[in-house]
């Protein structure tokens, strides 16, 4: 008698276990996808729920490696020429400490500031910051006054000095307009990484981490939480989206 009672209780326990497991398996993806659904579908407009940013580890950035620059030029259709009138959206800086002689190499580009001086000074509002923090130039509103180039503390902007040919269809550029790094917005909007980051990873340096600063689980947020990083010209209090570690 007692044996049959025990076996019935075990059956019930097994049933509850199995039921719980099935319920878990059924509900878990839904809960998981609920989180994913917070992110933006490609056809949606950008949202301030995200803030794109980049962390650059200068200790991993190799002196002499120019892969991020080359990838940027290829992705955005830049000539790669380095004359004083040529556009350079990203460049490698060699930084030498005058007191200690310590030399570092690091990439410099638009820092996608929270309070961008280029946006403040632009008379027509062509310089603009998207809700997700990416600073762009509206090709149809830029009158080519170059005041934003005067105002940018990072020398991140270039003026197109000559007519352009064979442009990339998703990277509009134009003679007489100012341009700069867009964080490869055409890729980011498709859920991909900027070309420079991809090239750095491909080379195995992994010196650049790109992601959503507002997502606490993103690789960049976790990296920023676990290491010391700084803004370039932090004294200007611009709240840059690009931060550096190791300098």
């Amino acid at each position: 008698m007692s044996d049959s009672v025990n076996s019935k209780q075990e059956d019930r326990r097994d049933f509850l276990k199995a039921g719980g497991l099935v319920a878990g398996i059924t509900l878990a993806p839904g809960l998981l996808f609920y989180g994913v659904a917070q992110s933006r579908a490609p056809e949606e407009g950008v949202s301030s729920r995200q803030r794109w940013g980049m962390l650059i580890d200068t200790t991993k950035c190799a002196d002499g490696c120019n892969d991020c620059v080359t990838a940027c030029n290829t992705e955005n259709g830049l000539s790669g020429k380095t004359g004083p009138q040529d556009s350079q959206w990203i460049r490698k800086l060699n930084v030498k400490d005058l007191h200690t002689g310590y030399v570092q190499s690091l990439p410099m580009m638009c820092q996608h500031c929270e309070n961008p001086p280029c946006v403040d000074v632009c008379p027509t509002g062509a310089s603009t910051k998207r809700a997700d923090g990416i600073v762009l130039v509206d090709r149809h509103a830029c009158i080519g006054c170059r005041y934003c180039m005067m105002a940018c503390p990072y020398k991140a902007r270039s003026f197109v000095h000559e007519p352009l040919h064979d442009q990339k269809p998703d990277v509009p550029r134009g003679k007489g307009c100012v341009e700069s790094c867009t964080f490869c917005v055409q890729r980011v909007d498709k859920g991909e990484q900027p070309a420079c980051v991809e090239a750095c990873d491909a080379k195995g340096h992994k010196a650049m981490v790109f992601g959503d600063l507002k997502d606490p689980q993103s690789a960049i947020s976790r990296a920023l939480k676990s290491t010391d990083s700084v803004e370039v010209r932090a004294d200007l209090a611009l709240g840059t989206g690009v931060r550096y570690q190791g300098i």
Partner: protein
């Protein structure tokens, strides 16, 4: 000749007038040639680049714009402060202000990367931008000074002269404050980023505007075979000396302030000691030709008979040359000095970081700059011919003194 449009029929000198018109026209044609060439080929043909983004055209443009508000000062002294001698000069002062502003804005517009989008600049305003506020100030200046001229020329409206004159005075102060702030608000560059920029531009505008006014006035008198009354000349010379002295004072304070801040030492060393063309233009152009020389000329004591007219033309001409040098040092020098990305570090890159940037203005920049002067010159030549802008002093006395002073 009976149908000639000419205020002083006895002194029409039509051939010379058309020669002057031709000269101004040539300068404007040159600017149009440069404009269309750059519009087609891009700024690659200029000496400007991604390091020196504002070059010679901007030097001339900002100088003319600053001088425009200064030229109006003569009218303001008349209408706002009630000085009779200046009241008689108010129409010429107002007209000159409009002509100078037209020339300056003309160059700015012709140098835009996309001048075809001027309509965008006129319809989309970013009110955070001091540049956009400047556009409002410029347009307002045309309207207010235009209205002011109407009140001066139409007897029925003469009671409006004073209030509109007041408005014009405050508007011009605002305009030059905004123009100086174009540079004062640039946080990142060592050569700018100073609250002193706005008041310094105002006092410099007084000097440049009055200097141009005096040259134009002297030319008009000479054209009509007249000599400006000695008392008036003395008065204006003293005023110019005050303005030039005050400009020099601001220049000294600006650099002394910088010398007090260790982070600004490199920039000061660049401008004051080893900046090549910029150091030369600062000391020889801005300080010596633009201030020391005219001040010496203005303060030389002479007996009445020896008081040369040329002194009251030479001194302001030197002020104009010094003013152009000052703008070059401020605008181009401020960009030539490299941006500081990492204080205490030496920086190198393919984008010319950490090096003093070279600038060699090309023919198109010269043509654009001269075109701005051409626009001002042509407008002035036409205006003084078709309107009564010659200051109406006590001519009988002046005519009597024509060859004696």
């Amino acid at each position: 000749m009976a149908h000639e449009v000419c205020v002083n029929q006895g002194e029409c000198r039509t051939v010379e007038f058309f020669a002057l018109l031709g000269l101004g026209g040539l300068l404007i044609l040159g600017a149009m040639y440069a404009f269309f060439t750059l519009e087609h080929h891009g700024h690659i043909l200029t000496g400007m680049n991604n390091q020196i983004v504002w070059g010679l055209p901007h030097v001339v443009a900002v100088f003319l714009i600053v001088a425009a508000s200064g030229a109006l000062n003569v009218a303001s002294i008349g209408s706002v402060f009630g000085k009779d001698v200046y009241k008689r000069r108010a129409p010429l002062s107002g007209m000159l202000a409009l002509a100078l502003l037209s020339g300056g804005l003309g160059v700015l517009v012709l140098d835009l990367g996309r001048p075809d989008r001027l309509i965008v600049a006129m319809t989309r305003y970013n009110f955070h931008s001091i540049f956009a506020l400047n556009m409002i100030f410029y347009n307002g200046f045309f309207a207010i000074v235009g209205l002011y001229l109407v009140t001066l020329m139409e007897r029925k409206l003469k009671y409006w002269t004073r209030p509109v004159g007041f408005l014009a005075f405050f508007w011009r102060l605002g305009l030059t404050t905004a123009t100086g702030s174009i540079f004062g608000f640039i946080v990142a560059r060592a050569g700018y980023n100073s609250a002193l920029m706005a008041p310094m531009f105002i006092i410099m505008s007084f000097a440049y505007g009055l200097a141009i006014f005096m040259v134009v006035q002297a030319s008009m008198y000479s054209w009509n075979g007249l000599t400006l009354d000695l008392a008036i000349r003395r008065r204006m010379k003293k005023l110019l000396a005050v303005f030039v002295g005050a400009s020099l004072y601001f220049t000294v304070v600006f650099h002394l302030t910088n010398l007090y801040f260790a982070k600004q030492w490199d920039y000061e060393q660049f401008i004051l000691l080893d900046g090549g063309i910029f150091t030369l233009l600062f000391w020889v152009g801005q300080v010596f030709i633009g201030a020391v020389l005219p001040l010496s000329l203005l303060f030389i004591n002479r007996s009445q008979g020896e008081h040369l007219v040329s002194f009251s033309v030479l001194a302001p001409l030197f002020v104009v040359v010094g003013g152009l040098c000052q703008m070059y040092v401020t605008i181009v020098g401020g960009q030539a000095f490299p941006l500081t990305l990492f204080p205490g570090h030496e920086v190198h890159s393919s984008f010319y970081d950490g090096v003093v940037h070279a600038y060699h203005p090309g023919i198109y920049e010269w043509l654009l700059g001269l075109g701005g002067v051409g626009i001002t010159f042509t407008l002035t030549v036409v205006a003084v011919r078709v309107f009564k802008f010659l200051p109406q002093d006590d001519f009988k006395t002046v005519l009597m003194r024509r060859s004696t002073d």
